[in-house]
């Protein structure tokens, strides 16, 4: 017989929410720090406020939420696990920022906390993912993204702890760390999630599975070759100048291959969105378009630019702020209202506001405008972007406040099905 709704199967929304609500704080801090930043090391600190503070917090929150419902993998106690990761992770990020930005010797405690929190979460999640009941491109993207995160983490810890007395290999590990973090961890995760959420939220057909896998394996293959090259380099005793020239040429070819995979993904996803079955205009889609066009620009940039004119800063802004952060906002503006609705309805309520009523579309468009402005200014004159980065993240809190408030209001109410479904 029909047993009504289950009160138990939905994983707690508080666990991902903890990470989702913390992430913009780091972006606000990054905006504030940008106004005073002068040195390379300070810009690296700010970059990590975006990558670790903003993106990694969102990633952990999203994985906690998505794995049980999309992949069928469950954590024993998601709320407790969230806190166990959350505290060392965010303390580690704060120490990392202080040590690099203010040049205070807190490198070792920062490295230890990041190693413990990111390492334990990634290893546990990987173990669960390799024991998942099914195999899909999204699942493979998640697995490879977490493996890349672990490799980037190991390299990052090495870089951080040898920063003040860098060995010869330092200069080789630095770009590898950046590539594993950008393409391996961030891009693979975004690609894996988008394979699920684009057809779901924007009523499109799925990208052909062979193309889905091709993008994932191209990125993973190129990164594996880079890692093998680094290991070979460490094992040989060649002239460092010759080795540098050889590895730079080899590395650039693989970098072009990574960008080709990003190009294919961006084009295929844009085509799906352009040809979607219901062409409803909405602001979250605007973030996706910004993100995908930025991905296209980033993927073309190294090939279009003569080698000596390539700017790391412009590439980092196109990839990080344009591609990754735009898409993250687009995802969050869909996922947070949906999860709020999903968790409330899982408890048997039917009178709650619908997803569209949980956000004010005009304010979302305002956020999109501020985001475009921040993005453009980060390329043209980074310091001028600071107030807009701060403003867009404060506006993000305002925009999701209603969905979060509704969730907690209904959580406090007694479920209309209580007493029926457990019979």
């Amino acid at each position: 017989m029909f047993k009504g709704v289950s009160l138990d199967q939905a994983p707690p929304f508080e666990a991902p929410l903890l990470f989702f609500l913390t992430a913009p704080l780091f972006a606000i801090l990054a905006g504030a720090a940008l106004t005073e930043a002068l040195f390379f090391q300070q810009h690296i600190a700010i970059l990590h406020l975006f990558s670790l503070g903003f993106m990694l917090n969102i990633m952990f929150g999203a994985l906690l939420q998505m794995l049980p419902v999309v992949i069928g993998v469950k954590f024993q106690n998601p709320k407790r696990m969230a806190w166990w990761v959350y505290i060392p992770l965010n303390t580690g990020i704060a120490l990392f920022f202080i040590s690099l930005y203010f040049d205070i010797a807190l490198y070792h405690p920062a490295a230890l906390l990041l190693l413990l929190s990111i390492g334990s979460f990634a290893l546990l999640t990987l173990y669960k993912l390799f024991n998942a009941p099914s195999n899909t491109p999204t699942l493979w993207a998640f697995r490879l993204s977490l493996i890349s995160l672990l490799i980037a983490l190991a390299m990052g810890v090495f870089l951080l702890t040898t920063l003040k007395n860098p060995p010869e290999i330092f200069g080789f590990v630095l770009p590898m760390h950046a590539l594993f973090a950008a393409f391996g961890w961030i891009a693979l995760l975004i690609i894996g999630v988008s394979y699920q959420v684009i057809p779901m939220f924007y009523v499109t057909t799925e990208i052909d599975r062979r193309v889905q896998y091709m993008v994932i394996w191209l990125i993973s293959g190129a990164l594996t070759l880079l890692l093998l090259a680094l290991i070979t380099l460490m094992a040989t005793d060649e002239n460092i100048v010759v080795t540098f020239i050889l590895s730079a040429t080899f590395g650039f070819i693989l970098f072009l291959l990574l960008n080709f995979a990003l190009f294919v993904y961006a084009v295929m996803t844009l085509l799906r969105l352009y040809n979607r079955k219901r062409s409803i205009k909405e602001p979250s889609l605007g973030f996706w378009y910004v993100g995908l066009f930025a991905a296209l620009a980033a993927s073309i940039y190294p090939a279009a630019m003569p080698f000596n004119h390539f700017s790391d800063n412009i590439y980092a802004v196109l990839f990080g702020y344009g591609f990754a952060i735009s898409i993250i906002y687009g995802m969050l503006y869909k996922i947070i209202p949906f999860l709020s609705w999903f968790h409330i309805s899982s408890r048997g309520f039917f009178d709650m506001p619908n997803m569209k009523e949980m956000v004010d579309e005009r304010l979302l468009y305002l956020h999109l405008g501020l985001h475009l402005l921040s993005f453009a200014l980060l390329i043209l004159y980074p310091k001028a972007a600071a107030p807009f980065i701060i403003a867009e993240n404060i506006l993000f809190y305002i925009n999701i406040k209603k969905a979060v408030k509704i969730y907690f209001e209904y959580k406090a109410k007694k479920s209309p099905f209580e007493g029926f479904s457990r019979q």
Binding site: V5, S6, V203
Partner: protein, 84 residues
């Protein structure tokens, strides 16, 4: 057995989930089953109906997914009807 057919391919979430959950209340053991035509595998819905004592079968044809929801006792009959 009578088929309750739902074409949810052009609906945004959470409408497809609401439509199936609503029709599940009209599903009668031994008499009816639900046939949903959708653009992807509705994994969140699967997660939600498992504790309700409902089973499902997924069949992919081209870009579309055919999902059949039924009571466990009707499994053989539904498998025969949907050709899986």
């Amino acid at each position: 057995m009578r088929e309750i057919f739902l074409d949810t391919r052009e609906f945004e979430p959470p409408a497809p989930m609401q439509m199936v959950l609503s029709e599940l209340q009209n599903m009668i053991e031994g008499q009816t089953y639900i046939h949903q035509l959708h653009r992807l595998e509705p994994t969140m819905l699967f997660n939600r109906i498992k504790p309700m004592g409902i089973e499902y079968i997924v069949k992919k044809e081209g870009d579309d997914y055919h999902i059949y929801y039924f009571y466990p006792g009707d499994k053989d009959m539904v498998r025969e009807l949907c050709g899986v």
